[in-house]
Amino acid sequence: MLKKPKLLFYRRLSQTIFGLLLSNSYLQVITTKSIYSGALKGFCIPFLNCHACPFAIFSCPIGMLQYYAATQQLPFFLVGFFIVIGLVVGRAACGWLCPFGLIQDVMFKIKTRKFGIPNFLNYSKYVILILFVIILPFLTNIHWFSRLCPYGALIAGVPWILWNPIDPDFNAPVIDFEMIGFVYFLKIGILIFFLIWFVYAKRPFCRIACPLGAIWAVFNKVSLLRFTVSSNCTNCHQCDKVCPMELATFKEVDSENCIKCLDCTSCEHITAKFNIR
């Protein structure tokens, strides 16, 4: 009998309140018709959240990394932020805060035939990080990942196009439809592709495409929050059945894909610990 993860309710609550609602709570956009650009936009959050979203109040760390690459500056503060958060909790923000992760978790609940994801695709997120977030923006001064990001399309690209209010400062629509070209439609295509994939596989975007997940993944094995498997583990595979990343925790403790959601601790043989050793 599969046990329901003990902390799942709290995780859903955290994903919804902190990830989805609090980070996207700029309701004044309804009257100002322009994105928030106050002091809080100077801070980034440890999960993907497009700062061009009409309701966003914080910046996206990947958007910021691209900005520094495109302007050819060394992002001292941002790298320090990645190192400190990564060392303390590893990929926990992916499991506990990321709203795109929540969407994937919810869509996977749709009852249909499910498919696995080949392991070699796990490495593609590192290629995306290095190529689309660092090298191409550095060489072309264009934020390539933002241009193609499916989550950016979902919470910023699509809402702005559908709403397209009149900007009170310029007395003209915010979006000039002549500016919409091939890249926009490519981005929408990528979004549709992933939305369909979410129904058939567990968290495909997190596993193969998320550049922020790739950054946190590097710290998973040395972060404070880690797991131990007891020696009397019976290989019952309960952990991989409940794991939102389809990991067999008993074989792959603190794997680079582990999002520290603690769902696997519903098995008595797996425990989470929060210490240096």
């Binding site: 996206c60 958007g63 500056q73 400190v84 094995k221």
Partner: protein, 41 residues
Amino acid sequence: MNKNLRTILFYVGLSIGILLIIVGIVIGNDLSNMRLEGSDL
């Protein structure tokens, strides 16, 4: 991973991370100066 190596990596990494954050703030390379450019339409 060896526990001692992990402890050393943790402390060295944390020190470097905190140092980078401080350097970033001191030289004005923090996030407050970032030009906003989000989802490209």
